[in-house]
């Protein structure tokens, strides 16, 4: 896309980095904490992973698992105060974590861009959508007004917005939610970035629109050979779209595997539980869902041992005392953090006779008995 026309020199540093070898994104032992009145919230607590050029990584977790903070921490989009970040993020060989905002601004949008969950708040409500797209074209690619305008029209066309010549003059409020998300995608892709972070890009949209937006993103990704990080709470969304999936719980990676492996050889009971909580069309109506009882823990005082142990139907004393490391058994690209990983859907924990998957009533009640929902606790005692 129009990259050859680029006249701005400030992005050249990164354009040259195209020859760099190895993974496009390398995150190493990233920690991100927030200082609050109640204490330090360890939202991301020692996360490491890599993303290869052109691949799709799904990051899955419940609200409060740290997945959104993780994506923002990688981008460097964190509030200026009361944040503690450690660890490193390398993008195309450059260390993002060592850059100041001025240098990051050259990367944002040009090489690494983000699609936010809520397009209504992410778009400027008083600027025409065309101008919002042209902004980064002018900044990063040095296009003049006319050139940027015609590129913006083409971009709107490529994201499936009908009659883009007219729509380019519209304001966000004149568009539906799905159309606004398409505009967000057009803005994110304007400068042909090599990595796009999509943070819950379809949450809040209708399922029909969700399918359209995800298909669009996949098509554009193929065309442009971009890497995509898809952050979501719904394993169904990433099942057919991601190459690899990371499951996060309480600020940590609890399982990471190539997508098929994750689904067919699930090791971590939490991953299994997330899969089972999705209503399946094939199940008869009225079939009871395998809900996970309780809620993710308070990240100021996370439970000792395995952080999922208070909600895990198979938890043993060992789980409550010792934190399981992220490890592999057999296949080196399948990592999980569990003392008693599932084998063929069965727990290897002693004295647990039931499977978590596909619902016998016993497993269900075992899961739901742990429920007793405690209210969110401002003093931090509730989940402790």
């Amino acid at each position: 896309m129009a990259r050859t026309k680029g006249g701005a020199s400030n992005t050249l540093q990164f354009r040259d980095a195209g020859t760099h070898e190895g993974p496009l994104l390398v995150v190493e032992d990233l920690h991100t904490s927030f200082r609050t009145q109640r204490g330090t919230v360890r939202a991301v607590d020692g996360v490491s992973f890599e993303v290869q050029e052109g691949k799709t990584l799904g990051i899955v977790g419940e609200s409060g698992s740290g997945k959104t903070v993780l994506s923002r921490s990688i981008m460097g989009l964190l509030p200026p105060r009361d944040v503690i970040r450690s660890g490193t993020v390398h993008f195309a060989g450059h260390e993002l974590t060592a850059m100041d905002d001025t240098s990051l601004r050259e990367v944002w949008g040009a090489e690494l861009s983000m699609i936010f969950q809520d397009p209504m708040t992410a778009l400027n409500p008083v600027k025409r959508i065309g101008d919002q797209i042209c902004e980064s074209l002018a900044l990063h690619l040095g296009m003049d007004r006319k050139e940027a305008r015609s590129t913006a029209v083409e971009l709107l066309r490529s994201v499936g917005i009908p009659s883009p010549e007219q729509r380019v003059r519209w304001y966000p409020f004149q568009l539906s939610g799905g159309m606004r998300q398409r505009v967000m995608i057009a803005i994110a892709l304007a400068c042909a970035p090599r990595l796009v972070m999509a943070d819950e890009p379809t949450t809040g949209l209708d399922v029909t629109v969700q399918a359209q937006i995800l298909d669009l993103l996949a098509d554009l990704q193929r065309e442009r050979h971009m890497a995509v990080i898809l952050v979501t709470h719904d394993l169904g969304v990433v099942a057919s779209r991601a190459d690899d999936i990371i499951v996060m719980y309480a600020g940590r990676i609890v399982e990471r595997a190539p997508t098929r492996t994750l689904f067919h050889d699930t090791k971590m009971p939490y991953t299994r539980a997330l899969m089972d909580s999705i209503p399946r069309l094939a199940d008869p109506s009225g079939a009871r869902l395998n809900a996970i009882g309780g809620r993710p823990p308070d990240l100021i005082n996370p439970p000792t041992g395995c952080r999922f142990s208070p909600r895990c139907p198979y938890a043993q004393d060992k789980c409550r005392e010792l934190e399981p490391p992220l490890r592999t058994v057999g296949s080196p690209d399948h990592l999980f953090a569990c003392w008693f990983p599932l084998v063929d859907g069965m727990s290897t924990a002693p004295a647990v006779p039931v499977t978590v998957s596909s619902g016998p009533a016993a497993a269900r009640s075992a899961v739901e008995n742990g429920q007793a929902p405690a209210p969110a606790e401002p003093t931090g005692e509730a989940e402790a």
Partner: protein, 348 residues
């Protein structure tokens, strides 16, 4: 669980019609024009049944739900609840009936007053109706909070902001149940929630339905969710009902191309799942100027000339299964969906 589901099914058939909606039309003013959000919808809900209403944003499903509790007046048509036409009912009569028909909303946090304590929020329906003594009301609040899985001792004195979205939805459900309703209208009660919390709330609604013998209308855009909770499902498109059938029948033998598309758009948590369907293209047309004939024809892969000329009416294709389409999917006489599409439905 499947056992109870089947016994429920049999009672559904015997159940008397408690809600009879006939030719419901709701119009809004849009500048000088009038726009129809709901254009002649007819359905019935039987005692103890859950009817799902499904469709995209702007199809009129929420407006339909709101007219059922009369927070949105109907322009024409009738809504007969237990023999009483709600449409045009005013004052005391309407208020009394409303205690029997309660609603829960999509955004659980904004539907609770942020400055009031949970126990007062939940008690309010009884305070308004001056039912019981203070002690009796407090006892009922405890009972209902416990029923929805909230500890009244811990939660009673707190404010809504101290609770997560899923917990706020539990609290709104407790409030809706305070006045002993018979009919519960759930307007997208889980679409703002994580899948894990969604499953908790859906299970809770199923439990409460049995415990309090509720009849429910469940409105959502996700057919997988709707199918899970509903005995029958009505599919809406641009203000019209396009298909209505028992949930399993609708899934097994979707007859309307739009229903087929809705089924296809649900993300299956299975990497090997290949959907033979094409994602629905385009957007909902403007209700200000709906397409002639079949309103879905502008996005329908099987549309014919007849579809633009003549509006299809709801007709029965199987017992209890109605569809408004000239060429229902899979019907021998009309357009038959390409094999790939029917196969994908069968594999699911």
């Amino acid at each position: 669980m499947t056992d109870t589901a089947t016994t429920e099914d049999s009672t559904v058939h015997e159940g008397a019609v408690v809600l009879d909606v006939h030719d419901l039309v709701v119009e809004f003013k849009s500048g000088r024009q009038r726009v129809q959000a709901v254009s002649g919808v007819t359905f019935q809900v039987r005692q103890g049944e859950t009817l799902g209403l499904v469709g995209e944003s702007g199809c009129g499903k929420s407006t339909t739900g709101r007219t059922l509790v009369q927070v949105q007046p109907a322009t024409s048509g009738s809504i007969v609840y237990q023999g009483i036409n709600l449409n045009g009912l005013k004052g005391k009569q309407l208020r009394q009936l409303r205690t029997k028909i309660q609603m829960i909303f999509q955004d659980p946090i904004s539907s609770l007053n942020p400055r009031r304590q949970i126990k007062d929020i939940v008690a309010e329906p009884l305070v308004i109706w001056k039912r019981g003594t203070k002690e009796e009301r407090a006892a009922k609040v405890r009972e209902m909070l416990e029923a929805v899985g909230i500890d009244p001792d811990v939660a009673g004195d707190r404010l809504p902001s101290e609770f997560s979205g899923g917990q706020c939805q539990r609290i709104s459900i407790a409030r809706a149940l305070m006045a002993d309703p018979d009919l519960l209208i759930c307007d997208e009660p889980v679409s703002a929630l994580d899948v894990s919390v969604q499953a908790q709330i859906l299970n809770l609604l199923a439990d409460l339905k049995q415990q309090f013998r509720l009849t429910m209308v469940f409105i959502a855009h996700d057919l997988a969710v709707v199918k899970n909770v509903s005995d029958r499902v009505a599919v809406m498109y641009l203000g019209k009902l396009v298909e209505i059938a028992e949930s399993d029948e609708l899934y097994r033998a979707a007859a309307h191309p739009y229903t087929e598309a809705l089924l296809a758009s649900i993300p299956e948590p299975d990497p090997d799942h290949v959907s033979g369907h094409k994602a629905l293209t385009g957007e909902l047309p403007s209700p200000l100027n709906p397409p002639s004939g079949c309103r879905f024809r502008t996005r329908c892969p099987y549309a014919q000339e007849r579809c633009s000329a003549e509006e299809p009416l709801l007709r029965e294709v199987a017992p209890g299964h109605q569809v408004a389409c000239h060429f229902p999917v899979g019907e021998a006489s009309g357009m038959v969906a390409p094999p790939a599409q029917t196969a994908a439905v069968a594999d699911n």
